[in-house]
Symmetry: C2
DNA sequence: ACCGAGCTATGACAGATGTCACTGTTTTTA
DNA sequence: TAAAAACAGTGACATCTGTCATAGCTCGGT
């Protein structure tokens, strides 16, 4: 019997998923958390065979939970279940030792088999996810540098070049150059389109 | 026994929710659809006591389904279950005759009671939703006119003033004036911030 | 030691953006 | 009907934005 911790903020989704998974005789949702902090508390008190983590949560998000777990030396295998294809978050999650990363539109049987695989020590990435990752990595011209990512974040907060320059302690011209680079890499024509793309693709 | 149609695109959420609701002895999920078109097909073939509609879906979204239902004279009561607080969509849904509008973070018991209320002919709006609606209506200076909403939609697609002018068959100056008005009403400084706000608050 | 990549910066330029004031027309509403 | 909005337009203006060429610096890898 696989002992699972399920972490998901939306009550309906959490209860529904717990029910579905419990229908499988090999799986047992032993505890549920509705945010990252609850998840950490439960992880500290009990031991689980696997933690099913949502990414977007109040208080502490999935990445935050992973980070804290690693800091504490908690080796519980983690399967990320999220709504969005997000290259950056995916990479971060894997670097933090997540054992799997699947999208919420996965079929139930696939999810169950993913859980079993992770518990068995395998690494599970949905093909949709790996495709996405490969597409990104195979096209380095679309990869933003660290500074560019920072600037893109600022753009996504609605900052002007002048404000960004002040905040990052650069000249306005430099920021303009970075923005220009970003637009080219994202293949868009202006900052507004860049922000839209960033939000839609969760690049930020 | 309440005969329900459940429409939701994410398989996990749909199955989970169906399971949960079926646990209530008065409720029976008789059919499920994973997009708007399937939903319409099912509605045409069978009769239900209530349709539980997700808003965001591929092919045809919740509003589209409602619209088609009304065109066909289908009087099946509809309860909207959505992730987002969206004043505009809420108003449109209610105008199209939706009997209830609840957020996905609702508690299970509340959802069940909402379903029963809608079937009983009542109108159900979560307090979170009505608060949101009131907040908006009490501040008319923030209400966008029809034209302004149209322009804001264009902005949210990343269009320039010139492109919008051509699309809407106006002069560029007129569009500039509309944009200026929108920025004032949304209390932001430029189109990028307007788009961010529009996306975050689902004004579009 | 050298190369490439990332970061910084400048200047000049064209074009886009946003504001303001002012003028109309049409539609809604009181 | 009269007032109030919404809608459409113009011209002028300051500022912001994005592009391009060019150049110096630093750092990791070969």
């Amino acid at each position: 019997m696989i002992k699972c911790l399920l972490v998901e903020d939306q009550t309906l989704v959490r209860l529904g998923l717990a029910n579905l998974l419990n229908l499988d005789s090999a799986i047992n949702i032993e505890a549920q958390a509705e945010d990252g902090l609850q998840a950490l508390a439960l992880l500290a008190e009990h031991s689980f065979d696997i933690a099913l983590l949502d990414m977007r949560m109040p208080n502490l998000d999935g990445l935050g939970v992973l980070q804290k777990m690693r800091e504490k030396g908690d080796k519980t295998p983690v399967l990320i279940i999220t709504t969005f294809e997000d290259c950056d978050v995916l990479v971060k999650a894997l670097n933090l030792g997540a054992r799997g990363y699947v999208l919420k539109d996965i079929e139930l049987e696939e999810l169950i088999s993913a859980i079993k695989q992770v518990v068995a020590g395998e690494r599970v990435l949905q093909s949709a996810v790996t495709d996405f990752l490969l597409k990104k990595q195979l096209s380095p011209q679309f990869c933003l540098t660290g500074k560019e990512q920072t600037v893109l974040q600022c753009l996504s907060l609605g900052m002007s070049n002048k404000v960004i320059a002040k905040k990052l302690d650069n000249s306005e011209g430099t920021i303009r150059n970075h923005v220009s680079q970003i637009l080219a890499k994202l293949e868009v024509k202006d900052r507004t389109q860049a922000v839209i793309k960033a939000i839609n693709q969760n690049l930020i």
